[in-house]
């Protein structure tokens, strides 16, 4: 190689290199243009799309559940409140190794198969990604601690505070208030889906259900920014929820307690009404249940236990229909006077039994079973306070079932007249038309005889009996029974005009006459053989501080089995139901009560004293005297408390 040759090559090499470099630069420029076009496409053409995407990733709208309205009794005692509960929650997207975590929770805090089933259901219902779902509700402090210590082994799980419904009085008010429980899929379909976005629970029964729309409130919203792991980084905006309205009930929790205690170990139902408003002062049904069990979804075992118990604790006896027995007599007596079918003095000779003309069937008076005799000569007043059956059997020969029906309907029998207790039974108030429509048979005269003593087809709820007693006490003035006294604590009491017309009599004094007869049921009236059926159990035990009117009822539940011999202990299911209606003070009534004791056997002996205890609890002050606000302006009709 010569020097010349190399130099020449150098130039050639340089040209070759420069051409190659130029090609490289050209290709680079083209590719760079490609990048610019790509970026411009993403940032200009698709800007709107990706902006929305970006917001969708990070901005989440979270519903903020409104605080449920608080329920108070008439004196401002809290009956249903919201209490903070610490829940274990999980965000599914962040829960890596969910099965391992659940296994750990089984060891740590006894996470059960039942809990797991509930969790799976909640996870299925969840709509918003990265939203948390409760795993276990209302953890104890020990449980919170053991979860916190093991937090690192539970990715995606967290402890969250939440307000949940709480019933401080437990089973005392379960039937009166109802309860809230997890929203079911069926309920979801009919709900305002938007307003219930943040809400897990809904009123299932009672006041909680009827006033759901008031108690619930309006959902609020929070726009939050979440990071990629679903953690809320900041709240961008917030629309506060509107809390549900507080509600004040007519209920008096002290009276409720007294009534519940008075019923003792019996099963049964009690209604006490404020006769000046129709407000429900007490609604007891025993046995009861703890409504707090339903919060956060009742467990399968708890529900099975409640639902299959033969004592049927979930069943509200205060609103269920039963044969009213003799408690119907004052109303039929009034009907007889008002229709002119009987005068006050008309008397019947009661030999202890009764037969319809042309019928061989013998109807016995209740006295027959104890002393094989009757009440002898009985007028209406005595027929009421001594509860003479034959007098009313006799009345049934003159009064048609339709007349009974029409008159009793004015007192609310056969209908649910309550303003806000839709779950109450309508009872059964038979008539010719009713029987034809429901049974498809004509009415037989013997059935009128049964109806005249509140047996046969006739059925009424304790609520209806208390209502009828209230109308009787008020001399026909109607107030529809209502749970709610006031909406909002500071508001005025609700004044509802009664949809039921006041009961008008041809002779207003008949109210006093029947009221007087009912007073004689419990007060002394001339001594042995002439006292009311309940005297020995009420005024006879301890003098009354006010005039009480009442009427007992003892209703047969089941005909005795054929092999039953007199003197044997009656099996519980064959024992008669005991009932008692009452109101007081007779001169200016303030409270009306109906007591139903399932298989209580004695209307006067068992249900009567319970009714009296309730009246005492409501009317009497601490020294056993009538509270000043309850003292009637008029003088007493009867000498109260006279031996």
């Amino acid at each position: 190689m010569t020097e010349h040759h190399i130099l020449k090559d150098h130039n050639q090499e340089r040209k070759l290199f420069l051409s190659r470099l130029l090609i490289g630069a050209g290709i680079s420029a083209l590719l760079l243009c490609g990048l610019v076009v790509r970026m411009a496409y993403l940032q200009i053409a698709k800007h709107a799309y990706y902006s929305t995407q970006s917001d969708n990733y990070r901005i989440h709208t979270l519903p903020v559940a409104p605080n449920r309205g608080i329920i108070y009794d008439r004196n401002g005692v809290i009956l249903a409140e919201n209490k903070p509960s610490y829940n274990l929650t999980v965000v599914k997207e962040n829960a890596r190794g969910m099965q391992d975590s659940l296994a750990l929770l089984r060891d740590l805090i006894g996470f059960s198969a039942d809990d797991e089933e509930k969790l799976q259901n909640r996870l299925k219902r969840r709509a918003v990604p990265f939203s948390s779902v409760p795993v276990l509700v209302d953890l104890s402090e020990a449980e919170i601690a053991s979860v916190a210590v093991n937090q690192f082994r539970l990715p995606g799980f967290a402890i969250e505070a939440q307000l949940v419904r709480h019933y401080p009085h437990g089973d005392l008010l379960a039937h009166a208030l109802g309860y809230v429980g997890s929203i079911t899929e069926d309920e979801m379909k009919t709900l305002d889906a938007v307003n219930y976005k943040g809400t897990d629970e809904i009123g299932k029964n009672g006041v909680e259900k009827f006033y759901e729309s008031l108690l619930h409130g309006t959902v609020g919203y929070e726009q939050v920014e979440k990071n990629a792991s679903g953690r809320i980084m900041q709240v961008l905006s917030r629309t506060d929820p509107v809390a549900g309205q507080d509600i004040m009930l007519h209920l008096d929790v002290n009276l409720q307690q007294a009534a519940e205690a008075a019923l003792g170990d019996f099963k049964g139902g009690i209604i006490a009404l404020d006769t000046t408003t129709g407000g429900v002062l007490a609604m007891v049904s025993k046995p009861s249940f703890d409504p707090n069990l339903f919060i956060g979804g009742i467990s399968r075992t708890d529900f099975a236990r409640l639902n299959s118990s033969k004592d049927t604790p979930l069943f509200n006896r205060a609103l269920a229909k039963y044969a009213p027995g003799s408690t119907i007599k004052p109303f039929l007596g009034l009907a007889a006077l008002d229709t002119g079918l009987r005068t006050r003095d008309y008397a019947v000779r009661d030999a202890g039994y009764f037969q319809l003309d042309g019928s061989r069937h013998v109807y016995h008076d209740w006295t027959w079973w104890s002393n094989r005799s009757g009440h002898d000569l009985v007028s209406m007043e005595r027929a009421i306070y001594q509860s003479c059956d034959v007098y009313f059997f006799d009345l049934a020969t003159d009064m048609s079932i339709d007349t009974m029906h029409d008159f009793l309907a004015k007192f609310g029998f056969g209908a649910n007249t309550a303003v806000d207790i839709p779950q109450a039974s309508k009872g059964t108030l038979p008539s010719r038309q009713w029987k034809l429509a429901t049974i498809g048979e004509p009415w037989y005269p013997g059935e009128t005889v049964n109806s005249s003593i509140g047996q046969g087809y006739t059925e009424a709820t304790p609520l209806q009996l208390a209502t009828a007693a209230m109308v009787m006490a008020n001399h026909g003035k109607w107030y529809q029974p209502a749970m709610v006294k006031r909406i909002g604590l500071d508001g005025e009491d609700r004044r509802l005009t009664s949809a039921m017309p006041d009961v008008q009599l041809n002779n207003d004094d008949d109210w006093n006459f029947i009221g007087g007869a009912m007073a004689k049921v419990v007060h002394r009236n001339g001594g042995y053989r002439d006292d009311g059926t309940a005297y020995d159990y009420i005024a006879g035990v301890k003098p009354l501080a006010y005039t009480m009117a009442g009427k007992s009822g003892t209703a047969q539940v089941k005909a005795m089995p054929a092999d039953f011999r007199k003197g044997d202990a009656v099996p519980e299911e064959y024992r008669d139901n005991a009932l008692f209606i009452a109101f007081a003070p007779v001169e200016a009534p303030r409270i009306a009560v109906a007591v139903f004791v399932e298989h209580g056997e004695g209307g006067s002996s068992v249900a009567g004293p319970i009714a009296r205890q309730i009246l005492d609890a409501y009317l009497l002050g601490s020294e056993g005297a009538l509270k000043p606000e309850f003292i009637p302006a008029e003088p007493a009709l009867l000498s109260a408390g006279a031996p």
């Binding site: 090559d9 150098h10 050639q12 090499e13 340089r14 070759l16 290199f17 420069l18 190659r20 470099l21 490289g24 630069a25 680079s28 590719l31 760079l32 490609g34 990048l35 610019v36 790509r38 970026m39 411009a40 993403l42 940032q43 200009i44 698709k46 800007h47 799309y49 990706y50 902006s51 995407q53 970006s54 990733y57 990070r58 920014e225 979440k226 990071n227 990629a228 792991s229 980084m233």
Partner: protein
């Protein structure tokens, strides 16, 4: 002192050369290139500050690396490029030994052995060093002969390129292996390798691709290709990165959301926002305007480097400068192309911007060589 008239022109020329030797030339620094690099590095730091969620520790560390890298650049620029031509093959051999060492004793991070800890030296990735040594060595080898290269020269060059590339690929780090290969092949292309051989190699590569797919590539690599072809396939898994980076870029719009106002990286939606995906953060906060500014900086740097390559005096310098420049462009293109969804996700950082000391130091070493090439010119060039 009187000067003989016969020497006047020479003296005049010398004076001229003396006058042109500014401070930059005395420091062996190329002013325009250094200025563009500094602006890019500072801009990069600002983006990084946002991308690290305003983490001063990370930014300070990066600033320290940048300072070190500038030091390395200045140091390398002092070394006469002719010396590099002689040293390159020996350093290349040392590099290959280190790569074998990595495979045998290296630290494992992210499932691959890339790092080596030599006593007295900071922990570093030998594969990173090879990105520079391979083109230097190929250029050194080719500059001994006459261009265009003969078949033998091409085959030897292929061996020089292939050995470290295969070693790096076995770490496994296919991305870096490919970039090493690209840097070496650029030397061959610039040297004037015949087109028919180029097309032959390309045809062979295309033919070998399926074999590579079935017999060589790991699942994670296949997955990246799958994801590139269809990011929606696994929106919460492998496709997440690319969906989130496109969202970040697109939501930036023309002017961006403003510095420190990007949400995609701040809320951790954008993974690797400080490293490989940092351009998405930039695009989200500075918009298309910011991207154009970034690309302009790269164009200035690459343009100046191409000028240096074109003006280089000897073959070794030309080939080295040209290859380093084009490789730098490939980094830029591959990174932005990957983040914007044009290319599959490969682990290539955005040059001089992404968090990471090794990459910045090795890139600045390359620019040091470029400056050395430009400032160690002999007067002969004047003719």
């Amino acid at each position: 002192m009187p000067v003989p008239p016969s020497r006047q022109p020479i003296r005049h020329l010398r004076e001229g050369l003396e006058r042109k030797r500014s401070w930059a030339e005395r420091l062996h620094v190329d002013g325009p290139l250094l200025l563009a690099l500094l602006v890019l590095l500072l801009f990069g730091l600002a983006v990084l500050y946002s991308a690290t969620n305003q983490n001063p520790v990370e930014v300070r560390r990066q600033a320290l690396f940048i300072g070190m890298a500038i030091g390395v650049l200045l140091f390398v620029a002092q070394i006469n490029v002719r010396l590099l031509r002689i040293w390159a093959p020996w350093m290349f051999l040392g590099g290959c030994v280190l790569l074998i060492g990595v495979l045998l004793f290296g630290d494992i991070s992210n499932g691959a052995q890339r790092w080596i800890d030599l006593p007295g030296l900071p922990r570093f990735q030998p594969s990173e060093v090879m990105k520079i040594l391979v083109p230097l060595t190929v250029a050194s080898f080719l500059s001994r002969g006459i261009m265009p290269p003969t078949l033998l020269q091409v085959l030897v060059s292929m061996l020089i390129i292939g050995t470290p590339a295969v070693l790096v690929a076995r770490q496994p780090d296919l991305g870096t292996a490919l970039l090493i290969g690209v840097a070496g092949i650029f030397v061959l292309l610039l040297a004037g390798m015949r087109w028919k051989w180029v097309f032959l190699v390309l045809t062979l590569a295309v033919a070998a691709a399926p074999a590579l797919w079935f017999f060589y590539m790991d699942d994670y690599q296949k997955n990246r290709i799958h994801t590139f072809l269809d990011p929606e396939r696994e929106p919460l898994g492998a496709g997440w990165n690319i969906i989130q980076s496109k969202t970040a870029i697109g939501s930036g719009g023309l002017y961006g959301k403003g510095w420190l106002n990007g949400v995609q990286s701040r809320l951790d939606y954008l993974p690797e926002g400080q490293t490989d995906f940092i351009v998405a953060v930039l695009a989200e906060e500075f918009g298309l305007v910011g991207i154009l500014f970034l690309l302009t900086l790269y164009i200035v740097i690459i343009g100046r480097a191409l000028y240096i390559a074109g003006a280089a005096q000897d073959l070794f310098a030309r080939l080295t400068a040209g290859s380093l420049t084009l490789t730098f462009f490939v980094y830029v293109f591959v990174n932005i192309g990957m983040v914007s969804g044009l290319l599959p996700v490969v682990g290539v950082p955005l040059p001089l911007v992404s968090l990471g000391g090794t990459s910045i130091i090795s890139l600045m070493t390359g620019f040091g060589i470029l400056m050395s090439i430009h400032t160690h010119r002999t007067a002969r060039l004047g003719f």
